[in-house]
């Protein structure tokens, strides 16, 4: 605090840069899921869509569409398929347009489709 105050007087700027250092509390935060490419087929995708309580997931043909903005990081999809869905570890997710939040996840093509 005193150092910060002295530097502010010297430079005429009292604000600081961000982030000064990585925050230790960030490790325990719940984060939106990351989907393991090459494991999720249409059937599993439909199950993930069914367990999502906040309409963040829907399937569009052979693509799983994930709206990060709608995700509440509840972890139900991770519970339903822990081998295919893991926490992404990303929490600083602010965006400047809604389209930035919509992510397309390619699904495995099953034989005979």
């Amino acid at each position: 605090m005193p150092l910060w105050f002295a530097r502010g007087l010297r430079r005429g700027i009292v604000t600081t840069r961000y982030p000064a250092r990585p925050d230790r509390s960030a490790a325990g935060l719940p984060t939106p899921p990351a989907f393991r490419a090459g494991v999720i087929d249409r059937r599993l995708a439909d199950r993930l869509v069914a367990v999502c309580p906040s309409r963040a997931l829907h399937r569009d043909g052979g693509v799983l569409v994930f709206d990060v903005g709608r995700c509440t990081a509840c972890g139900r999809c991770q519970e339903a398929a822990p081998w295919a869905v893991t926490p992404s570890g990303e929490f600083e997710l602010a965006g400047t347009s809604p389209a930035q939040f919509v992510k397309q996840i390619g699904l495995v093509q099953e034989v005979g489709q």
């Binding site: 604000t15 990351a34 600083e92 400047t96 347009s97 996840i105």
Partner: protein, 188 residues
């Protein structure tokens, strides 16, 4: 003004299609961002949230996060506010109050939608809620999370004043590697 909906509206209007209009708009945006960059007053607006977003917003003023070091301050009056931090799914009973709050703010002003409700996640539009803040107010920056942690809120506020670049558009949310599904699952 950081390339949000308003910036797109400017770019789409015929008067601003000329190059000098673009240059002028860009310079204006830059000037607003530099003015807001180190002194920004925030008015929070709860449009029907469960108050967990408010708890996280309140934590911003705690010593650990200390948003005042970044030049951000909370103000109780929309007349003094540069930025409207909106939480909740925008209940229909609140739309007049939300519009009045927005209109009471002096321009230039920013609107930040905060939390999964405000981004349209939790409540679908029905007789009671609009379902997303963007239905009523021109949102500039969206902050996902349920609730967004104070760190996510700080990053969102800094994105709003162009002190940080957004990084969500670069994320794919796919994990690498091919883990084998358990045998029981593969049979199904």
């Amino acid at each position: 003004m950081s390339g949000g909906s308003r910036a797109r509206a400017v770019a789409a209007s015929p008067a601003a299609r000329a190059p000098e209009g673009d240059v002028l708009a860009a310079r204006l945006r830059q000037r607003v961002a530099s003015q807001f960059g180190r002194s920004l007053h925030i008015r929070t607006l709860d449009t029907g949230s469960c108050a967990v977003c408010e708890q996280e917003i309140r934590l911003l003023a705690a010593p650990h996060y200390d948003l005042h070091r970044l030049g951000f301050f909370f103000t109780p009056a929309p007349r003094h506010a540069d930025l409207l931090l909106v939480t909740g799914p925008m209940i229909r009973a609140f739309d007049v109050a939300a519009r009045k709050t927005y209109e009471a703010m002096p321009g230039p002003k920013l609107v930040v939608a905060t939390g999964a409700c405000a981004l349209g996640g939790v409540y679908p539009a029905d007789a009671f809620v609009y379902g997303a803040v963007g239905e009523i107010l021109p949102v500039d920056v969206w902050i996902p999370g349920c609730p967004p942690s104070p760190l996510a809120l700080l990053q969102g506020l800094l994105v709003a004043v162009d002190r940080l670049a957004e990084k969500v558009s670069g994320l794919t949310f796919t994990a690498g590697g091919d883990a084998e599904p358990p045998a029981r699952e593969a049979e199904r």
